[in-house]
Every structure is written in C-alpha cells, then in structure tokens.
C-alpha cells in the first residue's frame, strides 16, 4: 500500500507504527485513498453530501412559505391574480436548461471537454434568460396592477419569485465558475474535484428547476 510513514515519532499510545489494522468499516476504502489522511482532505462525497444538506434546508424554507400560501389562500381578502405569460416562458427556459445541464455532465464524463464547454455555456445562458424572463414577469404583474402590497396572492408572486431567484443566483454563480474553468485540462485530483463539482452543480440546478415548477404550479393552479 502506498502510504507514507510519519516522519514524526509517535509518542502517544495508539498512534505508533506496527499496530494491526483497526476494525470498523471506515478503514481503507481499497484504492489507497483514506477518508482522511494522506493529506487528502477532499472526498468525492463532500460536495454531494453538502448539496443534499443544503437542499434540505432550502426545502424547509419553501415548505414554510408554501404552507403559508395554502393557509392564506381563500381567506377574506384573497384575490387571485392571473399568471403572467412571462412566468410560463421562464418555466420552459428552466426546464430546457435542466436538459442541457444533464447533457453537459454526460459529455464531461465521456471526456468530451469541448462539447461539455458548449453545453455548460448554453445552460448558463438559459439560466440568465430565465432571470430576465422572471423580471419581465414582475413588469407584467405591475402592468396588471398586482403589487407587493395589498392582496396576499399578488404578494406571494413576488415573494416566491424573489426567494427562488436569490437561491438561483447561487446556482448561476456556480455555473459561471464551471463555465470559466471549462477550458482547462485537468488531471488527477483536480479533475476528480471538478467532476464532483459538476455533479453537485447539476444536482442543485435540477433542484432549482423542480422548485420553480412546484412554485409555478402552486401560483397558477391553487388560487
């Protein structure tokens, strides 16, 4: 096994050389890379686990907001607002961007760096187009006389799009980072790290897509 012997003398019990392999399932994982040690703090799982945990928190916040929406719907003073056309366009845009992101991930896995670069750029552009379309949606709301204040249903339009938008900006930042770095040829751990990052960003981007679709359907159908 390619392990480095410590240059430091092990002065304490339990950490000197020559002891048997410890029991427990978190020992060596067979490819010479340890969960921790050998100087490799990076584990492939880190980004994925983190994104899942992050998504749990975001889901909780939107569950809270969506329950508020459902509780307040139908209250006295609730006047349904027509779904602006721009939000339908945005929905289409973000759905397509999910597909292009999947394509990007597939290309990079197959080692098609150039194609990957194209798809990731396209995803980024679609993401930006989504934001533009959302802003257009706000303009259409204002034109229709639906403002932040006043009727809770119109407030929720702004609240949902705004809160989703802030979280989407995080996704866009990550996509921009990937796109900027997409030209680089990476090997070894750096490459592994990038693959993990791409996996994580893809996951988050699909999540943003799914979240928007839920919010969109709620605003559109549950009046």
């Amino acid at each position: 096994m390619a392990t480095v012997t410590s240059t430091k003398t092990a002065a304490k019990p339990g950490i000197g050389p020559g002891w048997p392999k410890p029991p427990g399932k978190n020992g060596s994982n067979g490819n010479g890379r340890k969960r921790f040690g050998g100087g490799k703090r990076f584990s492939k799982d880190t980004y994925r686990i983190t994104v899942w945990i992050l998504m749990a928190a975001i889901v909780m916040m939107f569950v809270a907001l969506a329950s508020s929406y459902i509780i307040l719907s139908g209250n006295e003073g609730w006047r349904p607002v027509r779904m602006p056309r721009a939000f339908m366009v945005s929905t289409g845009l973000i759905l397509i961007s999910s597909i292009t992101m999947t394509a990007a991930r597939r290309q990079v896995r197959q080692g098609q760096r150039r194609k990957y670069q194209g798809w990731v750029l396209l995803t980024l552009l679609l993401g930006i187009a989504f934001v533009v379309s959302q802003i257009q949606g706000w303009q259409q709301l204002v034109a229709a006389g639906a403002f932040m204040s006043g009727n809770p249903h119109s407030s929720f339009y702004y609240l949902f799009t705004g809160a989703h938008g802030i979280h989407l900006l995080g996704g866009l930042t990550a996509l921009t980072y990937l796109a900027l770095r997409s030209g680089q040829v990476l090997v070894g751990e750096a490459n592994e790290k990038r693959m993990a990052a791409i996996d994580a960003v893809t996951l988050y981007w699909h999540f943003m897509d799914g979240l928007w679709v839920c919010l969109f359907l709620l605003l559109w159908l549950w009046k």
């Binding site: 096994m1 392990t3 480095v4 012997t5 410590s6 240059t7 430091k8 092990a10 304490k12 019990p13 339990g14 950490i15 000197g16 050389p17 020559g18 002891w19 048997p20 392999k21 410890p22 029991p23 427990g24 978190n26 020992g27 060596s28 340890k34 969960r35 921790f36 040690g37 050998g38 100087g39 799982d45 880190t46 686990i49 983190t50 945990i53 992050l54 749990a56 928190a57 975001i58 909780m60 916040m61 939107f62 569950v63 809270a64 907001l65 329950s67 508020s68 509780i71 307040l72 209250n75 006295e76 003073g77 932040m148 204040s149 006043g150 009727n151 809770p152 407030s155 609240l159 809160a163």
Partner: protein, 610 residues
C-alpha cells in the same frame, strides 16, 4: 502493514494576528470566539433579568442611576412598563439565540466535534468562519435595536430608512417578547411604543442569526458524516458528537422556517403586505388601512415550528456533555449507550411534531390540540430513558467530585426538575389555567435555561484545560457550583407557586390585581436569590479569565478521559493531532475494564496492547 499512520500535509498555521485570532479558519479559534460571544451576551441578558426582578419587586422606586443610564426608558429613575417589556423581549432573545444556541453548539461543538472524531478541522473552514461572523453581526444588530428605540439620535438615523423604521419611542428596545406575536409585531409604531425600528432590527437580527446557524449546521453535518477518522464508526462516537449532530439536524430543518417567517413579518412591516394582518383592524384610535387577508395564527405556527426544536437545540448539547462528563468521572461506561443515542434522536425528531402545545388556547383547532398534547407527553419517554441511564451510569460508580462533575450532576437534577412539569403543561385541560402563567416560566427556565447552562458550565470546567492548557481553580469552581445550584432552585421553584395562583407572565407590575397580592413575599424572595446568584457568576468570570493566564498547567489528559481530544497536547496544535491521524479501536467510554492496566482505555489504544 504500515497502515495505521499517515503524514498529513499540515495546512500551515497562520502567523498574523488577524488571521490567527480574528478571521481565523481554525475551528478551535472559532469555537472560542463563539464562547466569548456567549460570555458577552449572557452578561447583557443577566443584567436585564436583574433589572426586571428589581422592577417587579420594587415597582415605582426611583433608581437615580437608571435615570442616568436610560433617560428614555426610566425617566427620572423610575422604570416604565415599556422599559420592563423591552427587557423581557431582549432578555429572551439574547439568551435563547446568542447564549443557548451559540455556546453549546457553535462554541463547544465547533471546538470539540472535529477533535472527537479525529478530524483536523471542519469540512469547510471558510464557511465556519463566516458562520461566526454572521452570528456576530446578528448580535450587533440586536444591540442596535436597543438604541434605535431608546436613543433619539440613533432613532433619527434609522428614521431615514422609511416610515416603518421611525423610532425613538422612549423604550429601550422592541416590545413583543421573544416570540414576537403578530399582529402586535407586524403593525408598526401605531401599535404603541417599542414597535418601530427596534422590531425591524430585531427581525433582521434573527434572520441574520438564522443564516449563521444554517452555515454552521451544514458544516457540522458534513464534517460528522464525512471526516471521521479510521475506526471511528458512528457507534463509537462520544455521545457529545451524537448530541451535536442531532442539534445540527434540528437547526438545519427549523431555522429555515423561522427565516421564512421572519421575511414575511418584515415584509408586513416594511412592504405593506398582509401575511399576518387580517382586515378590519382598529388600532390606537383609527382603522388600519390597506391590510387584509392575513392570519395571526400563521405566525405562531411558523414561529413555534422553529421554536420548539430550538429548545432542544439549546439543551441537547448539554445532555451530550453531561453524559460524557458523568461517565468520565464516574469512571464507568455510560449505561445503555445505544438507548442514549436512540433517546437523543427520538427527542430531536419528536420535537418537530409538538409545536402546537404552545398554541392550545390560541384559537387553533381543538382536535389538533389533542394530537399535539399526546405527542408532547410522549417526549417524556425518551427524556425519562436519559434520566434512568444517567442514574444507571452513576450506580456502582466510583465518583470523582470535580467541578465539571458537580455541574453535570446538577444538570441531571435540574433537567428532571424542569422537564417533569412538562407533564402538567402538555395537557390541554391544565393549560386552561397554566398557559402563560409563571408555571410556564418556571418550566422552561429550569429545563432549557438553567439546565442547559449547567451543561455548559460542566463543559467549560471540563474542557478548559484542553482549550487553554491550564486548569481552572477547583475551589472557586466548587463555590460557584454550590451557590448557583442552590440559587437557581431558590429562584425557579417559587415560580411554580406563583403559577399556582395564576400569576401571568410578562406583567410589568402585579399590584393591579387582588388575586396576586399574596405573592409579594415570593416575588421579593426570588429577587434576592436572583441578585445573589447573578453576582456569584462574577466568580466564574474571574476564574475563567484568571486561569487562562495563571491557572495550574494541565497535562494532555488531566481527567484521565478516553476520547480523542485527550490524545493530543493541551492546547492542541493548529491541525489538532500534530500531523498524525488517530486511529480508533474502542468505544468512547471504556472505564473500569476488568483486566486492563489502568481504569480507562483510550479510544486510540490498540486491541490487546492494554
């Protein structure tokens, strides 16, 4: 095989003062920063509680110094009811958020979770640093709320931000309790003094705090799942790690809900929305225009969905520390490790389904109240399991009465005393009488307030030698324990008696009501006990800071404990284990193992070598 050791590329220790002590990425420094924040915040909260007691015992008394310090809150030295209520609000908010959430989790969790699982740092050091500084900003914003309401000059700065920020109402902070029930908190300054800029800042502060806690929770969970050292299986983790892990999950799932609720409340105040404000309100002599369609109960649901897990966020780390310390000084393995893990998880998870017990009489459906009530009392079961197991741990032990052990035993006693009245308050029929009386105040102060703090005192005395390389003074520590232990009982047991006669919480004075007149002696007794107990905390502060510089030098393992943090120098080097990866062979509490050379086996001690 030379598998057992590896050289770790140590990320070099920072050298500059700022990177080392201020914007440090080291989880140990960040942990101490959190502890220092809590030590600062708790002074503010404690002083406020003493002022509250003074106002309750001697209403209308002229305290010239108060008039000087708070010309608007206590004009001429006499405390106003508004002043009292803002103390109530700020005391609760500061204690719950900036003491009971920061010290147990952000402080000790940050410092010792990575060490106890054998990691060299948190998974995301930068995130960790941000989580502290975000929390710190939240604290500053909360303190600003005091001045925005109470100081005309500061108030006028905030007035420029818009009408809802108009303040300078003459109180010293927002009024609304730490629960900030809408629509009182949503209507703005028409609802009376203390409802202006202070409340906006209060909400913003809590929102900021939520973000800080979320960053922390994300880090804790990832670290624990992904960075445990070799041999550190989940079931070999110290119970402290289980407590911090469960707490992080609670924080992760509950703070977003409060954040969402806080955003809605802030929008109601500054953007004219109506999430919590129904139509047709008539406040302070005029009809409230424009608002329509909101629900005051919605705020309570959102708040308590967070608020109930929050009380477990405060106490679970204390439970973890208590289990850990009891076992160490009982020189005996923890009784029922698996049951303890199960119980801590059960308490955490059940905690998400009982928020309605704060709302029995709020106007919510009486059917859901029954469901919430039965779920609430079922939390008593895992809590009882924990108590039994603590007693089981001490049974047949060989107890060393160090200061941390005294506080840990105190924790068990206080946890029982405070927790068990949950059986009274959790019943819908008894809530007819007890809701919002001093019985409630007694219950939660004992269990989530004082018991948690005892857990943290125990943790402080226990880990101080590891953190600073010196021991705290035992005699001062014991003196501190005795006065505090008897003091908190003297303060909070009489609260039950006040609850029995129906004394309502959050009353600035009791003189208005005949049915409260028999309680005057009790109120006075509590005040005296509170002042003595509060003053004695100075001994702790002195001991803490004096010992950092002058305490007796501590060895690597002064308590003869077993877990990984005792397997490295005190204080630990920058990367925790000096470039060596600890390998774990044993469970966390191997004390008094028959046939072993010593009465404890460290987790790193290899099989057979003992």
């Amino acid at each position: 095989m030379a598998e057992a050791i590896h050289e770790v590329h140590r990320h070099p220790a920072p050298t500059g003062f700022i990177r080392k002590y201020i914007f440090s990425l080291d989880h140990k420094v960040i942990g101490i920063q959190y502890i220092m924040l809590a030590l600062t915040a708790v002074v503010v909260g404690l002083v406020m509680s003493v002022l509250m007691r003074m106002n309750l015992s001697w209403p209308g008394t002229n305290w010239p110094i108060m008039g000087t310090l708070f010309p608007t809150g206590a004009p001429g030295g006499v405390m106003t009811p508004e002043f009292y209520l803002s103390l109530v609000t700020m005391h609760g908010t500061i204690m719950v958020f900036f003491v009971l959430t920061t010290a147990p989790q952000g402080g000790f969790g940050n410092y010792f979770l990575p060490m106890q699982i054998g990691a060299d740092d948190m998974a995301f050091p930068v995130l960790n640093m941000m989580s502290f500084w975000v929390t710190f900003v939240g604290f500053i914003v909360l303190l600003t709320a005091i001045f925005a309401e109470g100081n005309l000059t500061v108030g006028s700065w905030f007035s420029k931000l818009g009408e809802s920020f108009a303040a300078g109402s003459g109180t010293v902070g927002p009024i609304g309790g730490w629960t900030g029930y809408a629509p009182l908190s949503a209507l703005g300054k028409i609802a009376g003094p203390g409802q202006g800029a202070g409340v906006n800042l209060w909400i913003i502060s809590i929102a900021i705090f939520c973000i800080g806690s979320l960053l922390g929770a994300l880090n804790f969970i990832t670290t624990l799942l992904n960075m445990r050292t070799r041999g550190m299986t989940l079931m070999r983790m110290p119970l402290t790690c289980w407590a911090w892990f469960t707490t992080a999950i609670l924080a992760l799932l509950s703070f977003p809900v409060l954040l969402g609720g806080g955003i809605l409340l802030l929008l109601d105040r500054v953007a004219g929305t109506s999430f919590f404000i129904p139509g047709g309100l008539y406040v302070s002599g005029s009809l409230v225009p424009l608002h329509n369609g909101g629900s005051p109960l919605l705020w309570q649901h959102l708040f308590w969905f967070f608020g109930h897990p929050e009380v477990y966020i405060a106490i679970l780390p204390g439970m973890g520390a208590t289990s850990h310390i009891l076992s160490t000084f009982a020189r005996k393995p923890i009784f029922g490790y698996r049951a303890m893990v199960f119980a801590i998880f059960a308490i955490g998870m059940l905690g998400f389904f009982v928020w309605g017990h704060h709302m029995f009489i709020s106007g919510m459906s009486p059917y859901s109240a029954i469901a919430f009530s039965i779920l609430t009392l079922s939390i008593g079961v895992p809590s009882a399991i924990k108590t039994f197991n603590w007693l089981g741990t001490l049974w047949g032990a060989k107890i060393r009465f160090t200061t941390p052990m005294l506080f840990a035993i105190g924790f068990v006693s206080l946890f029982v005393a405070g927790g068990i009245t949950g059986l009274v308050l959790g019943q819908t029929s008894l809530d007819f009488f007890f809701h919002d009386t001093y019985f409630v105040t007694a219950h939660f102060h004992l269990v989530m307030g004082v018991a948690s703090i005892f857990g943290m005192f125990a943790a402080t005395y226990f880990w101080f030698p590891k953190m600073f390389g010196r021991m705290m003074n035992e005699s001062l520590g014991k003196f501190h324990f005795w006065v505090t232990f008897i003091g908190v009982y003297a303060i909070f047991v009489p609260f039950h008696a006040m609850g029995m006669v129906g004394m309502p919480r959050r009353y600035a004075q009791f003189g208005e009501y005949e049915f409260l007149k028999n309680t005057h002696g009790l109120v006075l007794f509590v005040t005296v006990a509170a002042i003595i107990t509060a003053v004695v905390q100075l001994v702790f502060y002195f001991n803490f800071f004096w010992s950092i510089f002058k305490g007796k030098k501590a060895g690597d393992n002064p308590w003869e404990a077993t877990t990984l943090e005792w397997n490295t120098p005190s204080p630990p080097p920058h990367d925790n284990f000096a470039g060596i990866v600890p390998v774990v062979y044993h469970g966390p509490y191997e004390f008094a193992v028959p046939g072993a050379a010593k009465d404890y086996i460290m987790q790193t001690e290899p099989e057979g070598a003992a």
